[in-house]
């Protein structure tokens, strides 16, 4: 515990009285600190400035949203909203929780909700994916707001899980009404370094790259299941040091142990490793637009436009070997573009085309390439788990059917701009689904490139009129059984036409001390409310 920082008065009084009663009260009610580490440091505490997974997870402990995913079931559950109903198909009425207080003691009201939602829609906000289709926000009374959408929006509640609430008065007082303004290069907003929400934890101290300290919010409206009173997050960039810190007991949990350390960690009696499937699917995409691929020896035509060729490449990949050797079991092979937690997924769409070198050769012969061909293959080398190694393994597998892939691996800062310029012939991409709804994937990955998020990561420029029809339907279809059927159809169509070659869903192991009890969430976030230190 840090002795140099002034403490929240109440907590320190509590700690003091506990310390005095030490001998008697040993056990249940003691102050418990939970320390955890991962590689990344967040860049800001502004809740709308950047959309980054680790950062959103940390923000969620201090700033709450109106609704959130339940950590165990991943169903939407009420947070700062208690109930909601559609007044018209494009008007959602939300009743806010009463008696909720911000960390500074002020009340949470409809004004704050309207302000926060508008802030997320601001030009400088990076949360546009979560306010897609929002038209305007209307205050009805002190504890009721309406979200008016441009049309029926079936994923509205899911979008709201990432829209957190900030105090209007606090933001106005502290020059933080708008998210970080990049054009204003002289001015830094207050909310960039400071945080003040309604959440179960209060940000006490943030020293970038050193530590972030949180105290339990004694006035939180909800009931804490866990027993933690203080949380310390430390970014530790070096993998070996991170594991060393866990082994030496300096941290209680490491969110991202490296795969090669896992056998050692699993065999350690003081530690526990829990594996959870992340809802991020890793797949390969293929250019299906250009008439001729640069770097290929096939001139005058693009072999990847032929579905037989794409299927041959698919069937030439021995996904079980990748799972066993490259990923050391840390993957869940998949035939679908989304993981099983995502709406629209079924057992059927998840079936892979079987691995078969013979079938692949036959398909290539049918397509007119009995001896294979040369093609460029691009991969990131610091984005996904073992990304470079996976691509090397695939290159070797394709070589067995005569396809000579010229592998080029790039760091993510150059890789992503490159594929977004449509320069890759075959590329690797991983797609997580924060909405747990297949629309998010189908729209970005398989819809013909257009506006408003249509095909924004369809960098192979796959196009299919039936797919476009399906995507446009599910954007506004509010009849959920119908919508789910359509999403499944879309996923099946992607599979049948080999729009992409799905590889696997990432499995994320968390390594922790034996005495820690918590829930592994599919979005790789820790729910701090549930942590028990035994």
């Amino acid at each position: 515990m840090n002795k140099w920082m002034p403490k929240n008065a109440l907590i320190s009084a509590m700690t003091l009285s506990l310390a005095l009663a030490g001998g008697l009260a040993a056990g249940s009610a003691q102050a418990k600190t939970f320390k955890w580490a991962s590689a990344g440091e967040i860049s800001t505490w502004d809740i709308h400035s950047q959309n980054n997974a680790l950062q959103n997870g940390l923000h969620a402990a201090v700033y709450e949203s109106l609704v959130y995913y339940n950590s165990r079931t991943f169903k939407i559950e009420p947070m700062l909203a208690t109930s909601w109903s559609l007044v018209t198909p494009s008007q959602l009425r939300i009743n806010l929780r009463k008696g909720v207080k911000f960390h500074d003691g002020s009340d949470f009201t409809a004004d704050d909700a309207v302000f926060s939602l508008n802030r997320a829609m601001a030009k400088t906000s990076n949360f546009s994916p979560y306010v897609v289709g929002f038209d305007r926000i209307v205050k009805v009374d002190a504890h009721t707001v309406d979200i008016i959408t441009k049309g029926p929006n079936p994923v509205l509640l899911r979008q709201m899980t990432e829209l957190r609430m900030m105090s209007k008065a606090w933001a106005e007082k502290n020059n933080s009404v708008e998210p970080k303004d990049l054009k204003n290069v002289a001015q830094e907003t207050f909310a960039n370094r400071n945080a003040m929400g309604t959440g179960p934890f209060v940000l006490k101290q943030w020293v970038p790259d050193q530590k972030m300290v949180f105290d339990k919010n004694p006035n939180w409206w909800g009931k804490m299941e866990g027993n933690v009173t203080e949380i310390v997050y430390t970014p530790i960039k070096s993998e070996a040091t991170r594991i060393a810190a866990l082994l030496s007991g300096e941290v209680d949990l490491v969110l991202d142990p490296s795969p090669q350390d896992l056998p050692r960690l699993r065999s350690n009696n003081n530690l526990r490793v829990i594996d959870g499937v992340e809802n991020r699917t890793i797949f390969l995409g293929m250019d299906q637009h250009r008439e001729e691929l640069p770097g290929s020896n096939v001139k005058g035509k693009n072999p990847l436009k032929d579905v037989n060729v794409r299927k041959a490449l698919y069937q030439a990949i021995d996904i079980n070997t990748i799972n066993r050797v490259t990923m050391r079991g840390l993957s869940e092979p998949t035939g679908a573009l989304v993981a099983s937690q995502v709406d629209g997924w079924t057992e059927t769409v998840n079936k892979r085309f079987p691995y078969s070198v013979d079938d692949a050769k036959k398909l290539l012969t049918q397509a007119g390439y009995p001896n294979g061909f040369e093609v460029d293959f691009a991969c990131p080398n610091n984005r996904y788990i073992n990304d470079e190694e996976i691509c090397q393994a695939i290159t070797a597998m394709w070589a067995k059917v005569g396809v000579k892939a010229k592998l080029r691996t790039l760091p993510l800062v150059t890789y992503f701009p490159m594929i977004q310029r449509y320069e890759a012939s075959i590329y690797m991409l991983g797609w997580g689904v924060p909405t747990f709804d297949a629309l998010y994937s189908l729209q970005s990955l398989t819809r013909t490139v257009g506006t408003g998020g249509d095909g924004n990561y369809n960098v192979g420029r796959y196009t299919n009129t039936r797919m476009d029809y399906i995507v446009d339907r599910i954007k506004t279809e509010v009849d959920f059984p119908v919508r789910n059927r359509l999403m499944t159809e879309g996923l099946q169509l992607a599979s049948d036409t080999v729009s992409h070659i799905p590889l696997h869903n990432q499995v994320i192991p968390w390594a922790m001390k034996k005495n820690i009890d918590l829930v592994h969430r599919a979005d790789n976030r820790i729910d701090w409310r549930l942590i028990k230190v035994n």
Binding site: Q50, K180, V185, A186, R193, K211, K237, P411, V413, P417
Partner: protein, 326 residues
């Protein structure tokens, strides 16, 4: 004298501008920060607008000129990733790096010199042979490996020292120091040793070689002839003359310690400038990278300048040479 100083200053400015230019040139190839700023769902129109606002669409030399004219005023703009002023970010990280470098340099001197002297005076004994062999190890082992080994032994197996971070710090104005708390000293021990080992072995070998050289000179022989005690000869006469080149090298190496602390800082999660730089690279945060490289260049240039001026003060031959020569 004035002409000499002026000449050196002009050289320093030329070096600085060249370093800034090369750094800036390199940054054109590290990746596009706009993609990170806007996230995955940005439209091309948004991207172009931001590029315009940030001045990234301007010709290279115009961008460089803006950068240089701001840099002269100590202004490097906002970090693209953190939205905080670069000058503030650097100022926050500077104390950690400087403290680490200073503690490491002190360690290297305090341990390296006596070891060097010992190895020179007891040449051929098994102890000095052992020192020489071990020092070879220190020179040739990469820093990150030393760091990891130290962590493994002293943090994981023995549990004597913490494996990461800076511990408790005390704020003194804008300077944060970890040297006033026990925790702070515990935290600095392993990284400082890691950073010091290369310098330490270098100093030791240098002292040994210089010492052996000096011990062969005539004035040492005369001193012996005068019947002075070994102690006076070794420490009063020989060591003093040995130290001149050693101090020069140490001074220059201080710049190196600051710059190459990057690896040590990454291994130990030491919150200094090196760690800031590494993260800036991952996110193509150009303002931070540029500011860091320019600052490191400035430190090197400043140390060199001071060393040059000290030479001028210490060595009369330099002055004579300027006036008219032999």
């Amino acid at each position: 004298m004035l002409a000499f100083v002026l000449q050196r200053l002009i050289q320093a400015v030329v070096v600085m501008i060249t370093v800034c230019f090369i750094a800036f040139l390199l940054f054109q190839y590290v990746g596009d920060p706009v993609v990170f700023l806007l996230g995955q769902d940005a439209t091309p129109a948004q991207i172009n607008e931001l590029r315009r606002d940030l001045g990234l669409d301007q010709p290279f030399f115009v961008q460089f000129w803006h950068f240089l004219s701001n840099a002269v005023q100590g202004e490097f703009g906002l970090s693209l990733r953190q939205g905080a002023k670069v000058s503030r970010l650097i100022a926050e990280r500077l104390p950690a790096t400087l403290e680490l470098a200073l503690v490491a340099a002190t360690l290297a001197l305090v341990i390296g010199i006596p070891m060097g002297v010992y190895a020179a005076l007891r040449r051929g004994t098994w102890a000095s042979q052992l020192l020489m062999t071990v020092s070879l190890l220190g020179v040739s082992l990469p820093t990150f490996l030393i760091g990891i080994l130290l962590i493994l032994v002293f943090a994981v197996l023995l549990g004597w020292f913490p494996s990461f971070g800076r511990g408790d710090v005390v704020q003194m104005g804008w300077w944060s120091t970890g040297l006033l708390t026990t925790k702070g000293w515990q935290h600095i021990t392993l990284p400082a040793i890691t950073l010091a080992i290369f310098q330490l072995t270098l100093i030791m070998r240098l002292v040994r070689a210089e010492m052996l050289e000096v011990l062969r000179t005539d004035y040492i022989k005369f001193a012996r002839a005068r019947g002075l005690s070994n102690r006076t000869i070794h420490f009063g006469h020989a060591l003093k003359n040995t130290l001149v080149p050693v101090l020069t090298i140490t001074g220059l190496q201080l710049g190196g310690l600051i710059a190459f602390a990057i690896i040590t800082e990454t291994v130990f999660q030491w919150p200094g400038m090196g760690l800031l730089f590494i993260q800036a690279v991952t996110f193509a945060d150009i303002p931070v990278m540029a500011a860091y490289l320019c600052l490191i260049a400035l430190i090197f240039v400043a140390i060199n300048l001071v060393v040059d001026l000290l030479y001028f003060a210490v060595d009369p031959r330099l002055r004579v040479g300027k006036v008219g020569g032999h």
